[in-house]
């Protein structure tokens, strides 16, 4: 085992898969030798694999994804980087109408093994066009898988699975996670999609959290344990497929649920998780489900405003205490 950052873990996955399969290549804006990606994930890969396999593109998100789709349909395994997740809106047709539907509308004769990597999330004061968490948009598009790792271990294992699979994958990264450190094994491993990870075991209440919120939930859980509340933290790791069993199992054990997600509250990740539990484990609930999510606003610029709308440890602790106090 060794300690790496999420950024390093992602890069290792890319490097290992490019070494393993010559059909894997990368494309995106400034991912090549002159910049290495806006967040440095692809740094050094152009030097190692050449400019043909680590391709800088024009600022043309629709073409980046469209080219990925066409290449994927004809035998390649492209990995497209969209510099900021917000900009995936520019490629929405290619992601949601083309990549996602090619297998289905052509009756299963085609496949589009394309991975779209992109960072979501607030926390660095870059306002409404660079800070959103839009993963629910893609959960709402049948044909796409949506991965959302929170640790270096998960990031590497899930990215390798995404690259090797035969479905288009929307691979969500969180920009605050890139420098986060964690242990990964030296040997080869992958993580299957649709398998949640219990990041902390507990018995009084379940928190289902995603991406950077997993870390905030863990901090909150630690604090709550000092006050005698035992919190279980479940990280779904992939939003599509979603490990319903693991979520339901945890709720059946604790009888209480708080869902923490950085995306908007309405029709978001937290709404989906809550709906599943209501459908499948309502009788096990000892208190109403609480959601801690972004309050349906664009992401503001000024630090005080941004902090106000992004869930934090304090709001998680508060939600847990309110839920636990109900009988």
């Amino acid at each position: 085992m060794r300690e790496v950052t999420v950024r390093d873990a992602l890069r290792e996955a890319l490097r290992e898969e490019m070494q393993r399969d010559k059909n894997v290549f990368l494309l995106g804006e400034d991912i090549g030798r002159y910049w290495g990606g806006a967040f440095g994930v692809t740094k050094g890969l152009a030097e190692e694999f050449g400019d043909d396999r680590v391709r800088d593109t024009p600022i043309s998100e629709s073409a980046i994804i469209g080219v990925g789709v066409g290449a994927a349909m004809t035998g390649m395994r492209p990995i497209a980087e969209i510099m900021f997740g917000d900009l995936s809106a520019l490629a929405m047709d290619q992601i949601c109408n083309q990549a996602a539907k090619i297998r289905y509308m052509f009756g299963g004769q085609a496949r589009a093994p394309l991975v779209v990597r992109t960072p979501f999330g607030a926390g660095v004061n870059i306002a409404s066009h660079h800070s959103q968490s839009l993963e629910a948009w893609f959960m709402h598009t049948p044909g796409l898988y949506v991965a959302a790792p929170s640790t270096p271990y998960d990031a590497k294992g899930l990215l390798k699975t995404a690259i090797r699979g035969n479905n288009p994958v929307f691979f969500v990264e969180h920009k605050l996670l890139y420098p986060v450190r964690g242990m990964i094994p030296d040997e080869e491993y992958t993580i299957p999609f649709g398998v949640a990870d219990v990041k902390r075991e507990g018995s009084d209440i379940s928190i289902v959290a995603t991406l950077y919120m997993v870390h905030k939930a863990l901090v909150a859980a630690e604090q709550l344990s000092k006050e005698g509340i035992s919190v279980e933290v479940v990280d779904p790791r992939t939003l599509v497929p979603l490990d319903k069993q693991a979520i339901v199992k945890s709720v059946k054990k604790t009888g209480r649920l708080v869902v923490v997600s950085e995306d908007c509250r309405t029709a978001g990740v937290s709404a989906e998780v809550a709906a599943i539990v209501v459908e499948e484990a309502l009788d096990y609930l000892d208190a109403p489900i609480k959601r801690v999510a972004e309050p349906d606003t664009p992401i503001p610029f000024s630090p005080e405003l941004e902090k106000h709308v992004i869930p934090d440890e304090k709001s998680i602790v508060k939600a847990v205490k309110e839920t636990v106090s109900k009988f």
């Binding site: 059909n23 290549f25 043909d52 396999r53 391709r55 593109t57 024009p58 043309s60 629709s62 073409a63 994804i65 469209g66 080219v67 990925g68 789709v69 066409g70 290449a71 994927a72 349909m73 004809t74 035998g75 390649m76 492209p78 047709d93 290619q94 109408n97 083309q98 090619i102 297998r103 289905y104 509308m105 052509f106 009756g107 299963g108 004769q109 085609a110 496949r111 049948p142 044909g143 898988y145 699979g165 035969n166 479905n167 649709g194 599509v240 497929p241 979603l242 490990d243 319903k244 069993q245």
Partner: protein, 326 residues
């Protein structure tokens, strides 16, 4: 000079498209075609002239008006018709329909019904060719309306700068649905836009199959030799309305009549008579034979079952059960 056998094959394909579309129209009138249809009637010279330069392993991308592209690339009439009728035996098992026919076994990468969306996808197939190091070529069909989409700009620019083996074939039939080109574009020739990307742009009479053949031959060769894309604009006309109920009242009668006189099949037939490689009797025989195969395809389609309702849940993901599995 094109070989006689090839000329006759091109003529036969144009007839096949024409009679196939007429049959689709007829079936539509009998309420046997679900949804809508966009007929290729009148534009046959474009698909046939371009595809006559392609190998089986070359790719094409197609549009909502795609039946002609399929047939010209070598798709089977029976599976095409079955798909249009929503049958289980169709190319896409009834999941795509008229606007989404694909046959990957002949390089037909499928029709997208989002105007302009096929352009970057064709670029991607071109990049795939380049990275795999083969000498295949992609022909990307789209209408003049698509040239106003951002994907046209993004896709062609990228294809040009990476010198990818793609031939962009603009089927300019003057109308985007009911909107005449002059109402939405300040230029007459879409091919002029090629200059913006530093690639050749040529205008051809899209109702003259030999003109289309020659222009696309040069473009395909250029692409195959790694010299990059070309934009070939084919001036043509749809003889029917945009889709099922469209009587196309927005088009002046004189204009329609003028274009009907330029019917690509009649013109090519006249040419073949003139050079003496086709006779009236041979035409009759060919027509009979094609009508017979269209009828057989129709019979196959009509006798085919509809998909089982539960099949709607298949093919969403590579894994059976897909996202809802757990």
């Amino acid at each position: 000079m094109v070989e006689n056998a090839k000329l006759l094959e091109m003529y036969r394909q144009m007839l096949a498209i024409r009679f196939f579309e007429e049959k689709v129209f007829e079936l539509y009138g009998q309420n046997l075609v679900p949804g809508t249809i966009h007929l290729y009637t009148g534009e046959e010279a474009v698909a046939v002239g371009v595809c006559a330069n392609l190998r089986k392993d070359d790719y094409i991308t197609s549009t909502h008006r795609g039946h002609g592209h399929c047939i010209a690339k070598g798709a089977r009439l029976d599976k095409t018709m079955a798909e249009i009728l929503g049958r289980k035996t169709g190319y896409c098992k009834g999941k795509g329909g008229s606007m989404h026919i694909a046959d990957f076994s002949i390089g037909m990468l499928g029709a997208t019904a989002v105007v302009g969306a096929g352009i970057p996808i064709a670029a991607g197939a071109g990049l795939s060719i380049k990275l795999r190091g083969t000498d295949q070529v992609v022909a990307c069909f789209f209408g003049e309306g698509a040239s106003n989409q951002g994907t046209f700009h993004e896709g062609i620019n990228l294809t040009a700068v990476w010198s990818l083996p793609v031939v962009f074939v603009c089927e300019n039939n003057l109308y985007a649905m009911g909107t005449r080109q002059s109402r939405v574009m300040a230029i007459e020739n879409i091919a002029d836009r090629a200059a913006a990307y530093g690639i050749p742009g040529v205008v051809v009479d899209g109702n003259d199959v030999l003109a289309v053949y020659e222009a696309s031959r040069v473009a395909v060769e250029r692409a195959r030799q790694g010299e990059g894309p070309t934009l070939v604009e084919c001036k043509t006309y749809r003889q029917k309305g945009h889709s099922r109920f469209d009587a196309a009242a927005y088009r002046p009668k004189e204009e329609v009549e003028k274009w009907l006189k330029k019917d690509p099949i009649a013109r090519f037939q006249k040419r073949l008579f003139e050079i003496g490689i086709l006779t009236e009797t041979e035409v009759q025989n060919m027509v009979q034979e094609i009508k017979r195969s269209v009828d057989e395809a129709t019979k196959f389609a009509l006798e085919s079952p509809f998909p089982e309702p539960e099949e709607a849940l298949e093919d969403v993901y590579a894994e059976k059960g897909g996202a809802g599995a757990k």
